[in-house]
Subunit: 137 residues, 4 copies
DNA sequence: GTGGTCTAGACCACA
DNA sequence: GTGGTCTAGACCACG
């Protein structure tokens, strides 16, 4: 079945990046599983109503990141082994990013409470977008 | 006087936006005070080693946001009345920062749920630090 | 009997070429002997879990190179006379392998000069090993 | 000045890859130096007589490999810090690749001497190609 | 002027 | 049918 993704043409985020982000998000959250076949480039182009090359670019990006694996003539698949940062390193990275984020917002006079609220709002919006999408076209 | 600003050429954030952000940040934090004169576009272009048009674009943005005020032939000044940095501008910045943060963590294979957990943990730790004395940042 | 061949889906080398190379390799090294019957295309397709057409293409290539010989309704056999594997075929293979090798080292930031030096060093070591007895690989 | 590169349309190697390979080769061999500006995508497209998008693809590949660095509106530059594998690791990698290469050729009944000859021939051809090119168009 | 993105449409290699 | 490459040409953001 097609993706539940609707491209946002007014956000300024390039289509190809929205597709990349959506697939990464889906892999992280177990919506797409290792080995699973992605839609063909042509099919997804039709579904999302964008040019074929835009999908090609998105899939290429994902291949560069080792998130998907392409076999010519066969299709594109979620990679069996996801490039997982080893656990302790991941935890460090997470801590650093979060710490940096809190520093940044505080330098703009924004409270942590406000930031958490905004984060939850954005996450919620993204989920809603994904649920909503797919019924168009 | 020159700014203490170093442009980051590898972050992907456009120069003009880095300049805008820096000046807003400085106003919020009292580093630049209402009525204070900003460097001329030419001077700042030389200091930051960027194209003149880049500074022009940054100053225009700031003028558009009513954060600075340009007097023909005299220069550019921080506006006497900072209308709503606390409202619309801060909210925009907050949204941008949060969105960027979510992008970043997802590119490291970290889920939003994990990040929120870590943020809350860090916030909690900081609070505890403050109560205990907070001298060791 | 089935081949001891595992197709590598991540190498970028097309399946049909991997099969061709494997059979040529087997003929050169006496694993497959002149007149010996190859698996049917159907059987090999099942064994290697690839599309039937992939085997057809591989066998065609081999037939074109006069390495195998197909008898309608009977099967495919290693040709009785291996005409010039030692000449044109070997030369092609040599060129391919060398070209691939140079690509690989350059993608690791290694210059051709360095590689040639290392090759000569290894060759020299192997010769010395052989003279001393050669029992340790 | 333009590159001394002539695209080979009959080799089967995609244009964009020939360009990537050429630039990597040039960086490794000090022909292009860190910080040096590459031709604009439009200029190179004219010089090599290929479509602009082909150059864009080549430069993108190089950016993915962290070999070049792009600043929108300014141009594309050889990265200041080349992604250098640390020295001991590089040496190990080199040894492994060479060893593997020698094993491979010997399994095809090719002698090391033949391989070295072919390698030198290919290297020589590549150099000649680069020298020859650029005078056309 | 510089790169970034997108469209429309074509031809080729592989399964 | 599947992805890979390439062309021609357009519009946008940045410097």
């Amino acid at each position: 079945m097609a993706f539940s993704l609707k491209l946002n043409s007014s956000s300024g985020v390039p289509y190809y990046k929205q597709i990349v982000d959506y697939i990464i998000y889906s892999v992280i959250n177990g919506i797409l599983k290792p080995g699973e076949k992605l839609p063909t480039v042509r099919q997804l182009a039709v579904d999302l109503q964008v040019n074929l090359n835009t999908i090609v670019k998105a899939y290429s990006e994902l291949e560069h990141k080792s998130i998907v694996h392409t076999q010519q003539g066969t299709g594109t698949f979620i990679a069996e082994t996801q490039p997982d940062i080893d656990n302790s390193e991941k935890k460090n990275k997470l801590h650093d990013l979060c710490s940096l984020f809190l520093d940044e917002i505080s330098s703009f006079g924004i409270s942590a409470r406000e930031a958490l609220g905004m984060l939850e709002k954005i996450i919620h919006e993204k989920r809603a977008d994904k649920k909503r999408g797919g019924s168009h076209a």
